[in-house]
């Protein structure tokens, strides 16, 4: 579904991504793990067109994304739930969800809203509330719900568990499993490597802009080097 081939991304003189290649197949949950500053967010932002690679190519559903601007990615079936949620703080919960469905035909929106509210009943209770007043966990649910409003084929999640209490982390991963079972392809970036690897079919380990290990979720969970660096020994 997604094929990233040898991308190099720079911030001015900083070489943040150094020749990264990976792929995500239909129906898979693939995780990208790595320490702070490894380049995980940069990779996702490059895939969704907010940043650009100087080399290589990114292919999504067989289409080269080189000339596709960021705002066209949703229509192609890619949704990105960015790091730090980036919900529209001054808009209501429901308006945020509507924005998620910006490219969808109007007629389908009520059904989508219902589906998201079913997934996140808390959002339904707060639908008229201004999003900036939601708790951190609720904001994360909103960010995910907003991403789902476009019926994505590929959902990219950048640290969905960041800053959440353990019980909420569990909930978020439950939702990821449910989406996976429902057939959504997911590219998951996480600090919480143990959780991420346990839900993932495959994983890639990113270290200072390079992929240093790859394997199935289980393989990586039991890999000595990965254990040492990311799973607390």
């Amino acid at each position: 579904m997604l094929k990233v081939n040898d991308i190099n991304v720079y911030y001015g003189a900083i070489h943040a991504i150094k020749g990264v290649s990976f792929e995500v197949n239909d129906g898979e949950v693939v995780t990208l793990i790595g320490a702070n500053g490894a380049g995980k967010s940069t990779t996702l932002n490059t895939v969704c067109g907010l940043l650009h690679s100087r080399t290589g190519s990114i292919e999504f559903l067989g289409r080269n994304l080189a000339a596709v601007p960021a705002h066209k990615m949703v229509e192609l079936g890619m949704a990105h739930v960015p790091e730090g949620r980036r919900i529209f703080q001054q808009m209501t919960v429901e308006e945020n969800l509507e924005m998620g469905a910006y490219t969808q035909p109007r007629a389908g929106i009520p059904a989508n809203l219902e589906r998201v509210y079913e997934q996140f009943p808390r959002l339904k209770e707060r639908r008229r509330q201004v999003a900036g007043t939601l708790s951190g966990g609720e904001q994360q649910m909103l960010a995910m719900g907003r991403g789902l409003m476009s019926n994505p084929k590929l959902l990219m999640l950048d640290e969905p568990s960041m800053g959440l209490a353990p019980i909420l982390v569990e909930q978020i991963f439950e939702i990821i499993k449910r989406l996976h079972q429902a057939g959504t392809t997911i590219l998951l970036v996480e600090q919480n490597a143990r959780m991420a690897l346990s839900v993932a079919d495959r994983g890639y380990v990113l270290e200072t802009g390079k992929i240093v290990a790859t394997g199935t979720g289980d393989e990586l969970l039991h890999d000595e080097a990965v254990k040492k660096a990311y799973l607390g020994g």
Partner: protein, 296 residues
């Protein structure tokens, strides 16, 4: 009764300021820039209407519509040519460019239409008798004042509906909060910014015609003072806030009129700015603005 008359004059002048302030505030909200050329778009609108009525002999309505069309196009072109290439540039560079565009428009107008002032033909009658009399001999309101207030109310209502209820309006709010996230939703940020400039400039045309109907002197620098005052009004009300532009504009008009009537004509601007400074000391984000600390 002179007090009430002053209130009416102030509110109608303030309505025009509010319409101009909307342009500043909407553009600031979305492009995070102060479009100092906005005042000069007002002047262009007034000239277009003037020539449509006086040289081409067209009826006032057509003149106004023509002014709206020309200003809308002008606003979009200015954004596209002067500001869009600077999207990633430091805000100081954008500010200086905006000042440059302002001079370009003023000097362009001078070349095209001459430096001499023209007497604008008001779009509604301004005869001393053509007034709505509320209390005979004491309280009356001119048609231009009525028209200004009505325009302001209509524009406010329309914009409130637009930003609150329509898909495009909501997309505009989304862009003003977070352009990156808006793009992830599929919103085309560039066309949203263009649309904002289009709306602001169309409003500038309306304001230009109203302004010159109330104070019928037209020259290439006609737009600069009202532009600065309306910018003040936008800051006063809280830049980025649409109701703030209304409140700031009307208050500014009233304060200016009262200062002229009760203090001194020469000091009216000083009084206006004194009030602005006091308001900003108490509420740094303006009357209706939200104070958002700069993220570090």
């Amino acid at each position: 009764m002179s007090f009430l008359n002053n209130v009416i004059t102030g509110v109608s002048l303030g309505s025009i300021y509010a319409i101009i302030a909307l342009g500043y505030t909407m553009v600031y909200g979305i492009a995070k820039m102060l479009n100092f050329a906005h005042g000069d778009v007002i002047m262009v609108g007034a000239y277009v209407c003037f020539f449509a009525m006086n040289s081409a002999g067209l009826p006032p309505v057509v003149g106004v519509l023509l002014a709206i069309v020309v200003c809308t196009a002008l606003g979009v072109v200015i954004e596209r040519l002067a500001y869009k290439p600077l999207r990633a540039a430091p805000s100081l560079a954008v500010l200086i460019t905006a000042i440059g565009v302002s001079y370009l428009l003023q000097n362009g107008a001078q070349i095209l239409w001459g430096a001499a002032t023209k007497t604008f033909t008001p779009i509604v009658s301004t005869d001393p008798d053509a007034r709505l009399v509320l209390i005979p001999g004491q309280l009356s309101i001119s048609y231009v004042a009525i028209l200004s207030i009505v325009c302001c109310v209509v524009v406010m209502a329309a914009l409130t509906l637009f930003t609150g209820q329509t898909k495009m309006g909501k997309a505009m709010r989304a862009c003003s909060e977070d352009k990156g996230a808006a793009q992830l939703m599929g919103i085309n940020v560039n066309s949203t910014i263009s649309m904002t400039f289009a709306i602001g400039s169309a409003l500038a045309a309306v304001a230009g015609v109203l302004m010159c109907s109330a104070y019928p002197i037209l020259s290439p620098t006609t737009g600069s003072l009202p532009g600065i005052r309306a910018f003040t009004a936008a800051v006063f009300g809280g830049i980025g806030s649409i109701p703030g532009a209304l409140l700031g504009g009307v208050l500014l008009g009233v304060i200016e009129t009262f200062a002229k009537a009760y203090i001194s004509t020469d000091l009216s601007d000083a009084v206006v700015f004194a009030v602005l400074i006091i308001v900003l000391l108490v509420r740094p984000a303006g009357l209706m603005g939200k104070y958002v600390p700069e993220k570090v």
